[in-house]
Symmetry: C2
Amino acid sequence: MNDTPIALARWGSFHVGGRTTRVDGEPVREVLFTPGSAPAVLDPNGTYLVGGMYAQVMVPAPRRGAVPLMFWHGGGLTGACWETTPDGREGWQHFFLRRGWEVVVSDAVERGRSGWMRIPEETGGIPVTLTVENPWERFRIGTGTPQDGALLPGNQFPGDAQSWANFIRQTVPRFTSTDAMTLEAYGALLDRVGPSVVVAHSQGGFFAWRAAQEWPDKVRALVLVEPASTGIAEKAAALRDIPVLMLFGDYIEGDPRWPAIRARGIAFAEQVRAAGGSVEVVDLPTQGIRGNSHMIMMDRNGDEVAVLVQDWLARRGLWA
Amino acid sequence: MNDTPIALARWGSFHVGGRTTRVDGEPVREVLFTPGSAPAVLDPNGTYLVGGMYAQVMVPAPRRGAVPLMFWHGGGLTGACWETTPDGREGWQHFFLRRGWEVVVSDAVERGRSGWMRIPEETGGIPVTLTVENPWERFRIGTGTPQDGALLPGNQFPGDAQSWANFIRQTVPRFTSTDAMTLEAYGALLDRVGPSVVVAHSQGGFFAWRAAQEWPDKVRALVLVEPASTGIAEKAAALRDIPVLMLFGDYIEGDPRWPAIRARGIAFAEQVRAAGGSVEVVDLPTQGIRGNSHMIMMDRNGDEVAVLVQDWLARRGLWA
């Protein structure tokens, strides 16, 4: 825990984006919302607002970042993953705020404080909820189950039982059917906040690539932490003026999925370079930063990686 | 917007509470979480952690509140309702933080950053999602529909089209089947944070009464903003040493539900007094504070009401 107080010039939150949809012909019913309250007539017919997105903004005093720094979380999580670690340390939200960046932390559409509405009616799908066991191997933390407690050798994720429960409590249902409305909402967020650096993790990397290609004038740099996917090859040239840093953690070669995901990311980086762009790919172990799981910002050495990101941004003239 | 920076000694978040449940015998399937990623084998069998709760803590420097001040939101909303107003002003979270209170803002179980899991399997119900139209009359803001824009005369809620969309984007599915696990999680929150003042709105008032009766040593005072329900009559004596302030807004007499809800609250206050407790009921119009909807903390005159709460807490020796 860092004991130095943080001075905020301002902070707060807002929602952006979303679209309306109509429902008609459903029966009106009576609902007792709270025991001991009075029943209410609930008419489910009418207008629904779906696909809005929550964002929290903190502006430090003094401010040293040239533009705001956005944090886009991965699938199955919310913005809370940047706000704290499972073992209660400060998150990357603090790290960059303390260095004078305006930080904007959002909850992706249909997750967290963005709320969710009329799923699957509007999206054609229902979300996947994860077991306690699922992310243990999939996020390259341990083998077997978390109940066994067998971490991968040297793994930096706080994998004790209490921390694991804290991590799982951060997880939320993850949608595979809401990508279009999520991308749209990220566009609304960039519109509202203005040109920003986007730090994106995992599934967030998919949206970050696509958003940068769709609205290149709104993205000043991309920091992609183990992006789960790539941008669109035919639109590689749209990324020409946006410096990109791509980070990958440890244990990738032994994983059933990450070698392929990483290889696709690197192939896309080549396409962006061929189109005149600049993409730097950093495999953390080659920099002597070892033991990172997929949840790099939560790992015990997460601040070492944050320093690397901070230095990269400063070298690009985005911090003074 | 208040332009004075806020100094935070610390801030962050955590999750508390929840319990595990098992699922067995379901088919394993393959899921492509992100387009362009690698498919993952998803085993839905295993352990689930349900009923956890998210809380954000901000500790100002210097600190003047004797204990932390918790904010428990109402049904269909998240903690964001304390963080901003639909027209973008600072919320009560700011108001009390600026006065030196440690503020703890939670998202109730199955809402916001608390996530939701295995609904209805674990709770026996599915949540209610609200139309854009529904809260307009029910929250005593206007007549007809928000699209007509007919505010109740003198109403202080920011009811212009843009603000209304912002408010609706804050709403989330509201559960009527998760009360037991929500109360349990509030207990875990009080355990974690320690004795606190609880400011609760609407459905949150139901949980605040019950939590104070269940864990009276953890609650130093209750501020109930239009509580939707009461505590348990047989346990009125448990509230003997907890000062209570109950607030009601305007337009109650013309509403189909609020006269009954308010009357029950006042009857319960009598029972608490009869058992030796102290409950102060304030109908804001009788104090010259007029035009308040059900969403008092969001109303244009919300800070006037916050001043009244602040003074009440200071008179009880909870602020220096």
